[in-house]
């Protein structure tokens, strides 16, 4: 064929060097993207002529196991577009400050030689203060030098500490796992200062409360390779293809291996198209589907048929056989509390018997107290906290009964509320009578309650469903149709598939779940309903099974050593760790607009269920359940001085004095009057994150109450007045004196901040990265030095510490002490503080710090040494490390480092140096059981003592392993099996959660030590959530932000959903030209084609989306794949890119997705002091839900205007 011109002269092909030249490069460096995407992908960055030109994925992850597909490549369209940012016009190259503020500062500074005095002059001038607050977000930036920028920040911080207290300086940075040292830079500075560190996981509504509720663990999930082991994958609320881009191949590959994929999603999403079965469950109502599945499982796999694997699993690993007391209600019985061991004569004297629980032993036909419950964890005698079914008293074997069906003394009718339907059913439950210290009480098992709750009658009397087709009786397959839209036959078919697969494979069914489900107000219930199906079929703690929740890259693999560094534990610093949802709900005054939500329960008497969330929030702080900063209406340092003035000598006396002042109402928690100027947060440092808009639920309220600039909220404050909380009028506007953003790009947060510090990008710094999607740890490393005047986060906070120390020499020349409050924390003995709820401030109990109220401690600060401490690893660490309730010796490891690594010497002591960020990374790796085999061995040894069963063998083979930063740069390294993560990864096994619990009998860190179906805390009973239940999503009226907004004649109301988008990770990459080009040049608002036609909107029309909270203006994406009644505005746009003005708001700039939301807290999740329902940073507390949001939408009037 003449036209195959392969015979052209070689000379004619010399031009081919044209493209060869382009491919040539000078250097390749391994790095990754420190973005909250949970990807944790290792990348190679290509450098040519000293310029970063592009990136390609690293494909050298070590192989796990030849029977598993490999981890390569990892990285997605977003990651691979990062190189665009480095030299883009969005890059922040120099420090910037708003001109108005700079002028005020320089004027003040000219008058005052002392920078603190200058700052005080700036903020004392109310007119001047308001002038720069009003200018926030409106241009007018000016370039300044680093020295001046650092001086302003250091002066503001120290001035705030001096005037109000250190707990008025606040910092926010999300997701340490994505760049651990960069996070630790700011948090270490703040910890040494005494500042407040805001959480992220709960604020992002990424924390699934059902995980601590069930397992006592923030989140523990399988790495994505383990999906391949699953034979039935159910995906809900998680668009795997879009958000788990580098992992989803495992699903396709599992399908190729005969696994099935079922997707629950209201829209026909990318993962829906990937599925075998797509079930378009109504948005927010997946819980109804799962409860019907549970109904079928309990009927077909526990009643008509018995599966030994399921039954044995349930008996050992769940609270199912534990005894629950039934309490008399008005005309029947309701489930009450777990029966405490101490209530029985046999166990009346056992240690911590109030925290040990009972089952009915089949052989003796007597109640017995199996080991493993939380009382065994904290009792003096070690070695009995395990899941062996042995009596805690004498070690005899126990065979627990799951049900009393065959041996009941009686059948009692129990009230089961149908919260969605507003009815109550009475269902018969088999009971036994027990002689207790309260007399003869009826008890039943959790399992029998579950059966009744799910409506499986087993021939018992009561309002049980007639069968699967009973539409009126919860929770049948027919009943759920009205809530989910999914047919009953499909539910039954699915449940059989689920049960059969689990029975045949030993539990290889998994639920992969994410924010689409988790961001609802009642997400915990939805999760618990699905988790029930998992536990019932023995799917948790086995490879290929379990609840796999991926939202937020929360897994800092080397957590213990990282936390030491990040929170300056090596200096004994107590960090103020604040759950952000509560913080922003209160301080940005969103509580003033809140009316709360009726929980579907009948409120009787003093039930917390009927109270205003703010009232419960304040109660939770006073009772020590949740933290809150500022702590008091006085400075924490002044308190020490005041106590000493009144004669207090020791720490104990200071604490006693503080307690007395509180009790006698002379000292108040700041939360009791959060709007008093003395109780405001004053300085806000933001680094590594986009705190405004992107994650700011109630963004417009941030603009109003925090920043004091223009906003688009038209909402009125609520008429509801929370009791016990002052509400001054009018609400304060512009609480913050200074907002500092450390950033590499001009995003919404940078645009609205007072001062911007240029940060090095992820290709310009060294750091560590890990995720729960894979089991490797790998680095970020600098392909080029920080560009222009940017610096790494480590170097920025180091410099800030140096400047702070310099200014402190005048104002804080010596060390001083202050009072710290901390809530009752999970994994400490305080988690068994409150068996019952009593409010000391109402005189219901004594005020005892650490028991009935927060823990108080007196801590030392030394600002003049803040720099030296920052850059030195404190020798306090030699006393040992502590994590998740165990401690172990590390003095020799410390000395090893001091003798081999770079050191700093000051005041006659020698410390391992942290001056260089690589030193910090090596410290983390050196002390972490996940990267140091010796540390792994020691931590298992410590846990072994507590548990009383062999565990060190898990670390024996890897005891000699030591990983350094240089090792990771060479190749990602797999983390070692560690007691702080529950999986077992020895011999290349894929990580999945809770294997140590199932295989090694280590208890879950819960009340009974088992997985919990039943939560017997008094608030859970009051809120109707002791058992898994179904509550509908919040309706538009209760949503409460449509009152003043009116629908236009051609408008429509929609439930506005904000799932994670395809062309950005939150706002990162949103403004990246690559992503904008491949999408629609902005984030459009997706709506159903018929809905759009009804309001005269065609594809790509401009639309205005609004409610009382705010307004967004964007383009419409009209598509049949979106269900009617729902609008999708993918998380998260920036208001910096192509956002026009809003005609509805007098042609002011429109906002973004979070302009439409307001933070709403589910008060039940504020519970504390009770086993797994106990505070821990990023691990417990009410998340900031945002899915129950409603908007009006109409076509934009006229042309779009910028």
């Amino acid at each position: 064929m003449s036209w195959i011109r392969d015979l052209v002269k070689p000379k004619a092909r010399l031009w081919e060097e044209f493209y060869r030249n382009r491919w040539q490069y000078d250097r390749v460096v391994r790095s990754t993207h420190g973005v909250n995407c949970t990807g944790g992908c290792s990348w190679f960055v290509y450098v040519k002529e000293g310029i970063i030109v592009w990136e390609m994925q690293a494909t050298d992850y070590p192989l796990l196991d030849a029977t598993l597909p490999q981890y390569e490549p990892r990285g997605c369209q977003r990651g691979i577009s990062f190189s665009w940012y480095i030299y883009s016009p969005l890059r922040i190259k120099y420090p910037y400050i708003r001109g108005v503020l700079l002028d005020l500062w320089r004027r003040a500074r000219a008058e005052h030689t002392d920078p603190l005095a200058a700052w005080e002059a700036v903020v004392a001038d109310e007119k001047g203060r308001r002038s720069y607050q009003k200018a926030r977000g409106k241009g007018g930036f000016r370039r300044i030098g680093w020295e001046e920028a650092l001086e302003i920040i250091a002066a503001a911080n120290l001035s705030t500490c001096k005037r109000y207290g250190s707990d008025r300086v606040v910092g926010f940075s999300p997701i340490p796992a994505m760049s651990m040292c960069s996070y630790a830079a700011g948090s270490r500075y703040l910890s040494l200062l005494g500042g407040v560190i805001l959480s992220f996981y709960d604020w992002y509504a990424d924390l699934p409360p059902a995980s601590p509720e069930t397992w006592g663990e923030k989140t523990d999930v399988a790495e994505s390779a383990d999906w391949y082991n699953s034979k039935l994958l159910v995906v809900m609320g998680c668009n795997l293809n879009m958000t788990r881009t580098p992992d989803v191949h495992f699903v396709a590959e599992a399908r190729g291996n005969g696994s099935r994929l079922v997707v629950l999603s209201p829209d026909f999403s990318q993962v829906a198209r990937y599925a075998d079965w797509w079930l378009p469950v109504t948005a927010g109502h997946d819980g109804a589907f799962w409860l019907a599945v549970d109904h079928v499982i309990l009927q077909e796999f526990y009643t008509t048929r018995q599966v030994p694997y399921f039954i044995n699993y349930l008996k050992r690993y769940a609270d199912a056989p534990f005894l629950v007391e039934l309490e008399k209600s008005e005309n029947g019985y309701v489930p009450g509390r777990f029966v405490r061991a101490t209530s029985l004569l046999r166990y009346s004297n056992v240690e911590k018997g109030e925290w040990k629980f009972l089952v009915l032993d089949e052989k003796s036909d007597e109640p017995r107290m199996p080991r493993g419950s939380i009382g065994f964890r904290w009792q003096e005698r070690e070695g009995e906290w395990n899941l062996e079914m042995k009596d805690g008293l004498d070690g005899t074997e126990i065979t627990p009964l799951l049900t009393f069906l065959e041996c009941s003394n009686d059948i009692l009718q129990i009230d089961f509320a149908d919260y969605a339907g507003g009815k109550t059913a009475k269902r018969g439950v088999p009971v036994r009578y027990l002689e207790t210290d309260k007399g003869r009480v009826p008890v039943t098992t959790v399992f029998d309650l579950l059966m009744a709750r799910c409506g499986v009658g087993r021939g018992l009397s009561g309002d049980y469903p007639g069968g699967y087709d009973d539409e009126e009786s919860p929770y049948t397959p027919a009943w759920q149709e009205r809530y989910t839209g999914v047919g009953r036959e499909t539910v039954v078919r699915f449940a059989r598939e689920w049960g059969e697969t689990a029975a045949r494979t030993g539990g290889k069914c998994t639920i992969i779940v994410g924010s689409g489900t988790n961001h609802w107000y009642h997400s915990n219930l939805t999760y618990r309903s699905g988790i029930m199906a998992l536990i019932l079929c023995g799917c948790v703690g086995v490879n290929g099974g379990g609840l796999n929740h991926y939202t937020g890259q929360e897994k800092v693999q080397p957590e213990a050593s990282w936390a030491t560094l990040a929170f300056a534990h090596d200096w004994g610093a107590e960090p103020r760790l604040q759950n952000t949802p509560s913080f922003h709900y209160v301080h940005s005054d969103q509580w003033r607009y809140d009316q709360g939500v009726s929980e579907g329960v009948v409120v009787e008497g003093d039930s917390p269920a009927g109270r205003h969330p703010m009232e419960l929030q304040a109660a939770a702080v006073r009772m020590g359940w949740l933290p809150f900063y500022p702590q008091f209406d006085r400075s924490p340092a002044d308190l020490v001085l005041a106590a000493e003035e009144e004669g207090a000598k020791s720490d104990e006396e200071i604490i006693a004095w503080v307690t007395k002042e509180l009790k006698e109402n002379r000292l108040h928690f700041a939360i009791e009057d959060p709007d008093a100027p003395g109780n405001w947060p004053r300085v806000w440092l933001i680094w590594r994150g986009n705190a405004l808009l992107s994650s700011a639920k109630g963004h417009e309220y941030f603009l109003k109450h925090y920043l004091g600039t223009h906003h688009n909220s038209i909402a009125d404050e609520s008429d509801d007045m929370p009791e016990g909380v002052e509400r001054s009028d009018p609400a304060p506007v512009g609480k913050l004196d200074l907002v500092v953003d450390v950033n590499f790009r001009m995003d919404t947060s940078a645009l609205y901040s007072d001062l911007i510090l240029p940060a090095a990008t992820w290709y310009e710094k060294d750091d560590l990265n890990s995720t729960d999607l894979h089991s490797f740890i790998h680095p970020l490393s600098a392909a080029v030095p920080p560009c222009w005047e940017s610096r790494s986060d480590w170097d920025i906070f180091k410099a800030l510490a140096e400047k702070t120390a310099e200014l402190a020499r005048t104002h804080f020349p010596a060390s001083f002490r202050e009072v710290m409050t901390t809530p009752l924390r999970h994994d400490t003995p305080a988690e068994i503080a409150q068996s019952e709820v009593h409010a000391w401030y109402r005189g219901e109990c004594a005020a005892v710090p650490g028991r009935t109220m927060p823990q108080f401690t007196v801590v030392e600060r030394d600002y003049a040494q803040i720099y030296e401490r920052f850059v030195s690893l404190g020798s306090r660490l030699r006393e040992g490390m502590r994590e998740k309730g165990i401690s172990w010796p590390v003095a020799d490891l410390y000395d090893e480092l001091r003798d081999s690594a770079p050191v700093r010497e000051w005041q006659g002591e020698t410390f391992p140096s942290l001056e260089n960020v690589v030193d910090a990374a090596n410290v983390i790796l050196h002390f972490a059981p996940e990267t140091n085999g010796e540390a792994a061995w020691r931590t298992f040894q410590a846990l072994e003592r507590r548990v009383g069963l062999p565990l060190t063998d898990l670390a024996a083979d890897s005891r000699a392993i030591r990983n350094t930063f240089a090792d990771l740069v060479a190749q990602p390294r797999r983390v070692l099996t560690s007691p702080f993560w529950s999986g077992i990864t020895n011999s290349g096994r894929a990580y999945t959660a809770f294997c140590q619990n199932v295989e090694r009998f280590v208890p879950w860190r819960t009340l009974t030590g088992r997985q919990h179906f039943y939560l017997d805390h008094q608030w859970y009973i009051a809120f109707g959530e002791a058992l898994p239940a179904f509550k509908t999503k919040i309706g538009p009226v209760e949503f409460g932000a449509l009152g003043k907004s009116l629908p236009s004649s051609r408008g429509l109301m929609l439930n506005c959903l904000t799932p994670h988008g395809k062309w950005h990770m939150h706002t990162t990459y949103y403004d990246n030209l690559r992503m904008l080009t491949l999408s629609r040049g902005m984030e459009p608002f997706w709506l159903n084609d018929r809905d759009a036609a009804g309001i005269g909107v065609v594809d790509n029309d401009w639309v205005e989306v609004y409610n009382d909270n705010g307004v967004a203006v964007t383009r419409a994406a009209v598509s049949a794949r979106i269900p009617s009644g729902v609008g999708i505005y993918y998380h998260a746009p920036e208001r910096t890119i192509a956002v026009p003005k809003s005609p509805l708001r007098d042609y002011r700039r429109a906002g973004g997705h979070n302009s439409l939301t307001r933070a709403r807290l589910k008060p039940l999740l504020m519970t504390g002091g009770y086993a797994q329902l106990c505070y821990s940073f990023n691990a417990w507390g009410p998340p900031g839900s945002d899915r129950d949001t409603y908007v009006y939408i109409h076509k934009l009037a006229g042309e779009s205007r910028y």
Partner: protein, 495 residues
């Protein structure tokens, strides 16, 4: 018979997630320059959809590829003589609007805006004119069914469906889409090569990669029309056409092309095929229904010792024959008959093949109640799209070929299900394998290649013997000593 080697490709659409990482890998390295802004040598389309450039499949509009003329084929665009006569006139070119007007934003306004009374914003501006613009189209505008009523409904291949079927496509119980990543097919019978009046386009002898010489190109743009896939683009800055080069600089250094390397869905396979170059014309002229089969016949079995012998005689290097034996593409296309070419009816004999995607089973919707229909595991009879639609895309209308691929995918899954779960009776698996004309051994091999294949197994890059190529014009030893030394200056024209 004349045996030649061709680098060929398989995209496993069941694994494609439509993430476009491939597109950006390509753009970062190759088309991130003035004049190439709008080019996406690799793009990913949503199907049903109109694609990029819009409606590229409509050869009535663009006249790409070949048409059958008796026992031979001719370009649809024009004959050689017509081409020369109309060299200054080519009405069948896509315009900028058919692609999209590339844009950026005035990003610097965010930092530089003077103090004002409202928040500054970065406004969109055209990368062509520099002026403010409205964004009305993009290279992936109808992604994931965006604007489904316009774009999905406008899919060129939907013509094969009945009105009723087309309507159903947008109902909940049938709703469907999948992704179609596209690069240059590096065809055996490329329309672009034939259309070029200058002879600037050629297939490389060693690997069949189709290249536009940046020296010889004279901007006639006949290649743009002649390519039925619209995978040759005109660089408005240099005045030369450019296209996917299958990353030959990477392949020549033993690396997979960037879009293959970066494919996180792990859908891409690359390998060498041996084929009979003398059979091309005859093959291209076969009736529509036989085209795919004919193309498969053209591909020769590298395991056959006679083929290997002939290949050696025809000058194919032993190491390339060895690479062909390891080629995953050969297995997918010829041995397993799972992968099909894109729009074979254009008769360019594309060397990129697609395994059709599995889709969720159809459901029924009655009284607002959604009930599942068929069996999972990829039973083609219960999928949401009629086979006819796939046949229009992948087999020039031959439905049996598509069905055959689906039957086999189904059988493989049943086989593995039985192996790993055991809830499917042996007879059912046996019957499925028989109907798919497969065996447990083959099912096992397909499963391994689909699920477990390593990077090296998926991308079998043949050796390139660069020293020998260089030797044709320079001494490799001298090249080693001097390569890269000197000034880097643009050539005289256009750069």
């Amino acid at each position: 018979m004349k045996i030649r080697a061709q680098t060929a490709m398989v995209f496993h659409l069941d694994k494609c997630i439509g993430c476009h990482t491939c597109s950006i890998a390509c753009k970062n390295i190759w088309t991130d320059r003035h004049g190439t802004e709008y080019m996406w040598w690799n793009n990913v389309e949503t199907k049903p959809g109109t694609g990029y450039p819009t409606l590229w499949e409509d050869q009535g509009k663009y006249r790409g590829g070949w048409e059958k003329r008796g026992k031979s084929v001719r370009l649809r665009l024009h004959s050689r003589m017509e081409g020369l006569a109309n060299i200054f006139y080519n009405p069948f070119l896509p315009s900028l609007d058919d692609y999209y007007e590339p844009w950026s934003y005035r990003y610097s306004d965010l930092t530089n805006a003077p103090a004002g009374d409202d928040q500054p914003v970065a406004r969109p501006v055209s990368m062509v004119t520099g002026r403010e613009m409205k964004i009305e189209a993009g290279p992936n505008w109808d992604d994931d069914l965006g604007g489904s009523g316009i774009y999905a409904a406008g899919d060129f291949n939907l013509a094969t469906l009945t009105t009723e079927e087309r309507k159903q496509l947008f109902l909940l119980d049938r709703l469907v889409f999948f992704h179609l990543p596209r690069i240059c097919n590096h065809c055996l019978n490329p329309g672009c090569v034939a259309a070029c009046p200058t002879g600037a386009i050629y297939k490389r002898g060693e690997d069949g990669i189709v290249l536009v010489s940046q020296e010889k190109c004279r901007a006639w743009r006949m290649c743009v029309s002649g390519c039925p896939y619209k995978k040759v683009y005109f660089n408005w800055k240099t005045g030369k056409s450019e296209k996917c080069i299958l990353c030959y600089p990477r392949q020549e250094t033993c690396q997979a092309p960037a879009c293959f390397h970066s494919c996180v869905g792990r859908i891409r396979y690359l390998g060498t095929l041996l084929y009979d170059a003398e059979g091309i014309e005859q093959c291209a002229a076969r009736p529509d229904n036989d085209l795919v089969e004919a193309q498969r016949e053209l591909i020769l079995d590298p395991g056959d010792s006679l083929v290997r012998q002939k290949a050696r005689e025809d000058g194919v290097h032993e190491a390339i024959i060895e690479a062909a034996r390891k080629s995953p593409v050969y297995r997918f296309v010829k041995e397993w008959r799972l992968a099909l070419p894109l729009h074979p009816e254009v008769r360019t004999l594309p060397m990129l093949f697609y395994v059709p995607p599995l889709l969720p089973v159809a459901a029924t919707m009655e009284k607002g109640r959604y009930e599942l229909g068929g069996e999972p595991c990829g039973d083609p009879s219960t999928e949401r799209l009629p086979i006819r639609y796939f046949a229009a895309i992948f087999s020039a209308g031959n439905e049996e070929l598509v069905r055959e691929a689906y039957r086999k995918l189904h059988a493989v899954r049943l086989h593995r299900r039985r192996e790993t779960v055991g809830d499917i009776p042996k007879e059912v698996v046996q019957r499925a394998l028989e109907e798919a004309r497969s065996t447990p051994q083959e099912a096992e091999a397909i499963y391994r290649m689909t699920s477990l294949a390593t990077f090296a197994e998926r991308h079998v890059v043949p050796p390139f013997f660069r020293e020998m190529s260089i030797e044709a014009t320079a001494d490799p030893a001298e090249r080693k000593e001097t390569t890269g030394v000197g000034f880097c200056r643009p050539p005289k024209r256009g750069w």
